[in-house]
C-alpha cells in the first residue's frame, strides 16, 4: 500500500456524530431534535437529509453566536427549550451537542435540569441530552449513542411484553419496512428503535409538515425494558441492547445486518428463537424467491469485481451478499475506524475465498487509489462515488447515504429476502446495461476472448 496521504481527508466517507444522532431521532414520534451549536450544524444536516429523502426535515438550532459562546450556551438552550415547548408541544425534545458546545464545556444535563426545575408547575416534554462531539468517531457512533440515550432515559421495567426490540441502525425507510414485514409475517410483536419508515417516506399531505407524526412512541421506548430480547441489526449500534441486557436482563444480539441470504437466515432464526415463533411458509417462499433470483442472475454477475463503500455493517453485509452471488469484492471501504468491521470482512474473506483490500477509516481518495490498484467492474455506494465511477468507466450502483443525484433513495431496499431480490435484480440489470449490448450479448473486450462465455447459452 502507498502512503502518499497520511493527514488530509479528501472526499470524506463519513459524517459527524450529530448527523447520526438526527437520523436516529427522525424515527421518534412527536419529537423535536435540537442541535446545541451554531446554526450551520442544523442547516447543513438538514440540507443533506432533505436532498436524500426528499422530505422536509425539521431540526431546531440553539443558534449560538459569538457572545453566547463567550458566556456559555445556557441562555440559548433554556430559551430554545422554552420556545419549542410553548409553540410545538412535542412529546420529546432530544438535544444533541456539537463540537462547539462540547468544547466550551456547556453542561447540557445541568442546564436541562435547571429548565425543568424552573418549570415545575408546567407540563413539559421529555427532554433528553445526547453528547455527540463531532471530533469523536463518526455519524455511526452518533446514531449508537442516541439510541442508547433514549433507552437509558426512558426504559422502565413494568410488565413483560413478549416483544422483541429491533435496533435498525441507519437503514433506508424501505429497509425498515422490510424488517417490519418479516416480523409481521412471523407474528412477532416488536418495538423498532427507531422507526423512520413513515417520517422519511411520507405521503403527500400537509400533516407531514407538523411534528414527526410517525415512528416509535415514548411509551414504546419505555417498554423496551420489558421485552424478550433486543436484536441490533448493526453491530455498531448495539450499545442500547447491551445496556438493556445489563440493566434489565433483556437478551441482546448484535448483528449481523440481514443483507443477503445467510445474514437474513440468521436474523429470521434469532427472531424465531427469542420469540419462540414458527418460521411461516410465506417467509420460506420469499427465501426461495431470493435464491431463484440469484440463480437467474448468476451468469451475468459471476466473478465480476466489485468495490463497496459506506457504513461499516452495510458494507460487510453487501460484501457477504455479493460473495454469495459469486462476485469478487476487491475493495471494501468504510469511513469509520472499526476493528469489528475488519474482523467481519476477514471472516467473510476466509469463508468465501476472497481477499479484498480493507479500508477502515479511509476516505474516497484512498478507495479510488485502491480501485486503480485492485480493479473493479462495478462500484456500490452512495452518490459521492459518481465521479470515481465515471473516471474508472464503471457503473455506480447507488445505495446507502446520501443518494441525492437520483430519485427514490428512501425506497432503495437491500435488506431481508425481498430487499435482496430487489438488489440482485437491479444490480444485475446495471451490469447488463453496462457490459452487454441491446440484445443481451456480452460486449467483447478487445484483448479478451469471451466467445465461450457469451455464446454458450444460446
Amino acid at each position: 500500500m502507498h502512503h502518499d496521504k497520511k493527514f488530509a481527508v479528501v472526499n470524506p466517507s463519513k459524517m459527524c456524530q450529530p448527523m447520526g444522532a438526527i437520523q436516529a431521532l427522525l424515527g421518534v414520534k412527536d419529537s423535536m431534535p435540537l442541535i446545541h451549536g451554531s446554526q450551520g450544524c442544523s442547516t447543513y444536516i438538514r440540507f443533506q437529509l432533505t436532498r436524500h429523502f426528499r422530505e422536509p426535515i425539521e431540526v431546531a438550532s440553539t443558534s449560538m453566536s459569538e457572545k453566547t459562546v463567550i458566556y456559555g450556551g445556557e441562555f440559548n438552550l433554556m430559551k430554545a427549550l422554552k420556545n419549542i415547548t410553548e409553540k410545538q408541544s412535542p412529546s420529546m425534545i432530544a438535544v444533541t451537542s456539537s463540537c462547539l458546545t462540547e468544547t466550551i464545556g456547556d453542561d447540557m444535563v445541568g442546564i436541562i435540569e435547571k429548565f425543568e426545575d424552573a418549570n415545575l408547575d408546567k407540563e413539559l416534554p421529555v427532554i433528553i441530552p445526547i453528547s455527540t462531539p463531532s471530533y469523536v468517531e463518526s455519524h455511526v457512533e452518533g446514531y449508537n449513542r442516541t439510541v442508547k440515550a433514549l433507552v437509558e432515559h426512558l426504559a422502565t421495567p413494568t410488565v413483560k411484553n413478549g416483544k422483541i426490540n429491533i435496533i435498525t441502525g441507519n437503514i433506508s425507510p424501505a429497509d425498515v419496512k422490510e424488517v417490519k414485514n418479516i416480523l409481521k409475517e412471523m407474528d412477532c410483536e416488536s418495538i423498532i428503535l427507531t422507526d423512520t419508515s413513515e417520517n422519511l417516506d411520507a405521503p403527500l399531505t400537509e400533516d407531514a409538515l407538523s411534528l414527526y407524526n410517525g415512528g416509535t412512541t415514548i411509551e414504546e421506548i419505555e417498554d423496551t425494558a420489558n421485552s424478550l430480547g433486543t436484536i441490533s441489526l448493526s453491530k455498531h449500534v448495539d450499545s442500547a441492547g447491551v445496556f438493556l441486557e445489563n440493566k434489565f436482563g433483556v437478551k441482546s444480539i448484535s448483528g449481523p445486518i440481514p443483507i443477503g441470504l445467510e445474514n437474513t437466515d440468521s436474523f429470521v432464526k434469532y427472531v424465531s428463537e427469542i420469540g419462540d415463533l414458527e418460521i411461516p411458509e410465506s417467509i420460506e417462499k420469499d427465501r426461495g424467491r431470493l435464491i431463484d433470483a440469484m440463480v437467474d442472475a448468476h451468469s451475468y454477475n459471476y466473478h465480476r469485481k466489485v468495490a463497496i463503500f459506506g457504513d461499516p455493517d452495510f458494507v460487510s453485509g453487501l460484501t457477504r451478499f455479493t460473495c454469495e452471488m459469486g462476485m469478487i469484492p476487491t475493495v471494501v471501504c468504510t469511513g469509520t475506524k472499526s476493528k469489528r468491521f475488519i474482523e467481519d470482512i476477514n471472516n467473510i474473506s476466509e469463508e468465501k475465498g476472497v481477499s479484498p483490500t480493507i479500508l477502515a477509516g479511509g476516505d474516497l481518495y484512498d478507495m479510488h487509489r485502491e480501485i486503480k490498484e485492485s480493479g473493479a467492474d462495478i462500484l456500490i455506494g452512495n452518490a459521492y462515488g459518481a465521479s470515481i465511477a465515471q473516471e474508472e468507466n464503471i457503473p455506480l450502483f447507488r445505495v446507502g447515504f446520501p443518494v441525492f443525484d437520483r430519485l427514490g433513495a428512501q425506497r432503495i431496499s437491500v435488506l431481508g429476502y425481498n430487499g435482496g431480490i430487489d438488489f440482485v435484480d437491479k444490480l444485475t440489470n446495471t451490469i447488463l446495461d453496462f457490459y452487454y449490448d441491446e440484445a443481451g450479448y456480452e460486449i467483447e473486450e478487445p484483448e479478451e476472448v469471451v466467445e465461450e462465455f457469451a455464446r454458450e447459452e444460446i
Binding site: P12, M15, C16, G40, T43, T62, N83
Partner: protein, 452 residues
C-alpha cells in the same frame, strides 16, 4: 397593526406588508433559539463565496462534519480544473482539540499541495478551530513559505455572527488581503473589467460572458465563478467592476474602489429588461461609440432570438402568483423577471437580509406584498398555507415544505441545474417555471379516495 401571521411575540415585526406603515421588517437580528431557522453559519457564508475558484483546494480546518456536509454543494460549473470539488478536511480528533490542531493543519496543507499542485489552498477556520485558538494565519504563512503555493487563511469561525453575510465579507477579505493585487496582467486594454459576485451556478456565467466579450469588453477575472486564483490576483488592474450578486459582493467592490480606485456598477442578468439595462450600463460607462453601437446590436438580436420563445410559457403563467424566499440579492432581482412572465410576486423574503437588502426589496415589489425576514419553517409553512402562491422560489431545505402543501417549487439555490442568466437563460427560466407551475401533478394533490 395586526401581525401578518401568527408567531412568537419577538418575531412579529420580522414580517410586514409593503405599504402598511413599516414596509421594512426588523432584520439582521440573532435567530430565536429553538426555531428551525433556514440560516447557516459564517463558515458557510465564506465558503460559498470562495468555493467556485476552480483551481484551488478548499481545506476545512475542523472536525469532519463541516466538510462532509458542504463539499461540492454549490453547483458552480467549471470549464477547466475541478479540484475545487474535492472535500478536504483536517478531520480534527479529540486529541487535536486538547493539544491543538496546528501541526496537523500544516502537514495537511503540505500533503494536499503535493497531491494536487493547486493554484491556492484556502484554509477555513471552523467553530472549534477558533475556540481552541489555532493560529491559522501563522500556519498558512509557514506552509506558503515551504510550498511556494498560495496558502490563504479564511477566518470564518461559524459562531462569529448570526448572519452569514459576515462570512461573505470574510471570504472577500481573504481575496483582498492575500490575492488581489499580487500579480500584474501581461497586457491591459482600456476596457478591462471584473465580474464580481457571479458564481457560475448551473453555468450562469456562460450566459453573461459571451455577451460582454462581444461588446468588446475584456474580462480580467470573475469573482469567483469558474475562476483561477491567478486571474483574481490581477483583478486590481480593471477599469470597472460589475457586481452581479450585490448581497455577497458589494463589500468587495466597495473595498476595491477605495483601495484601487476601480469604480463599480451594479448589474443584473436575470430577466430580459435587466439584462438589457445592464449591458447598456456597461457600454455607457466606457462611453465608446463603437461599443455602444455593438451593444445595441447584441441587445436587438438577443431580444429577437428569445422573445417569441417565451410567448407560450407566458400564456400559461400570466396571472399566477409567486413567493420568493431566497438570498438577499434574488429577493429583489427576480421580481421584474417574474413580472415579465406575467406573474405577480406576492411575497418576498430573505434569510440573512440586512437593511439595505430590504430597501431594495421594498423598491422592487408592489404595495401589498408580504416581506419576511428569517422566517423559520413553521412561519414559512403558515404563510404558504394562508396565501397559497402558485409557486415558491427557494432552496433545498424549503423545497419539500412547499411540495407537501401541493405548491409548485423551483430551486434557485445550490441544486439548480439550469442556467437562468442572460437572454437564453431567460428562456430556460421561463421553461423551468412553467414546468413547475403548469404541471398537472399539482391538480392531483387535493384529491382523496374518500372524497375529503
Amino acid at each position: 397593526m395586526e401581525p401578518v401571521t401568527e408567531t412568537f411575540e419577538s418575531r412579529k415585526k420580522h414580517v410586514c406588508v409593503k405599504g402598511e406603515g413599516l414596509s421594512i421588517p426588523v432584520c439582521d437580528k440573532a435567530s430565536l433559539p429553538g426555531t428551525v431557522t433556514q440560516r447557516t453559519c459564517v463558515y458557510g457564508g465564506a465558503r460559498i463565496v470562495l468555493m467556485p475558484i476552480t483551481d484551488s483546494i478548499h481545506l476545512v480546518h475542523g472536525p469532519i462534519g463541516c466538510a462532509a456536509c458542504t463539499w461540492d454543494i454549490r453547483g458552480s460549473k467549471t470549464s477547466r480544473e475541478d479540484i475545487y470539488k474535492k472535500g478536504c478536511s483536517t478531520n480534527l480528533q479529540e486529541k487535536d482539540i486538547i493539544f491543538g490542531g496546528e501541526k496537523k493543519l500544516y502537514e495537511t496543507i503540505i500533503e494536499l499541495n503535493k497531491l494536487y499542485k493547486p493554484g491556492a489552498v484556502f484554509v477555513y477556520a471552523t467553530c472549534v478551530a477558533g475556540i481552541i485558538g489555532d493560529d491559522i494565519k501563522a500556519v498558512c504563512k509557514k506552509a506558503e513559505g515551504i510550498t511556494g503555493c498560495r496558502v490563504i487563511p479564511v477566518q470564518s469561525e461559524g459562531f462569529q455572527n448570526h448572519n452569514k453575510t459576515k462570512g461573505h465579507w470574510i471570504g472577500g477579505d481573504a481575496l483582498l488581503d492575500y490575492v488581489i493585487g499580487t500579480k500584474e496582467p501581461e497586457e491591459t486594454t482600456p476596457f478591462d473589467i471584473n465580474i464580481v459576485g457571479e458564481f457560475n451556478v448551473a453555468g450562469d456565467l456562460w450566459g453573461i460572458k459571451p455577451l460582454l466579450e462581444e461588446m468588446g469588453v475584456n474580462i480580467i477575472s470573475t469573482l469567483t465563478g469558474d475562476s483561477h486564483v491567478d486571474e483574481i490576483a490581477q483583478a486590481h488592474r480593471a477599469k470597472l467592476n460589475i457586481v452581479q450578486c450585490q448581497k455577497s459582493s458589494n463589500y468587495v467592490a466597495k473595498k476595491m474602489e477605495k483601495k484601487y480606485g476601480i469604480p463599480f456598477i451594479k448589474v443584473n442578468f436575470f430577466g430580459l429588461e435587466q439584462t438589457v439595462a445592464s449591458l447598456r450600463d456597461v457600454a455607457d460607462f466606457f462611453g465608446d461609440e463603437e461599443m455602444i453601437e455593438r451593444t445595441e446590436r447584441i441587445i436587438e438580436s438577443g431580444l429577437k432570438e428569445v422573445s417569441h420563445k417565451i410567448e407560450e410559457y407566458k400564456k400559461r403563467l400570466t396571472g399566477k402568483t409567486v413567493a420568493l424566499y431566497v438570498g438577499g440579492n434574488k429577493a429583489w432581482s427576480l421580481v421584474r423577471p417574474f413580472e415579465e412572465l406575467g406573474m405577480d410576486v406576492m411575497m418576498s423574503g430573505t434569510k440573512n437580509g440586512i437593511r439595505e437588502d430590504y430597501e431594495m426589496i421594498k423598491e422592487a415589489v408592489r404595495d401589498g406584498t408580504i416581506i419576511v425576514d428569517d422566517a423559520n419553517s413553521a412561519e414559512l409553512t403558515r404563510l404558504l398555507k394562508e396565501h397559497r402562491p402558485n409557486l415558491l422560489i427557494s432552496g433545498a431545505k424549503e423545497k419539500y415544505i412547499s411540495l407537501k402543501l401541493g405548491i409548485p417549487f423551483c430551486d434557485f439555490n445550490h441544486d439548480r441545474i439550469t442556467a437562468f442568466a442572460g437572454f437564453r437563460g431567460f428562456v430556460s427560466f421561463a421553461k423551468e417555471v412553467d414546468a413547475s407551475v403548469s404541471s398537472p401533478v399539482f391538480e392531483l394533490t387535493s384529491k382523496s379516495l374518500r372524497g375529503d
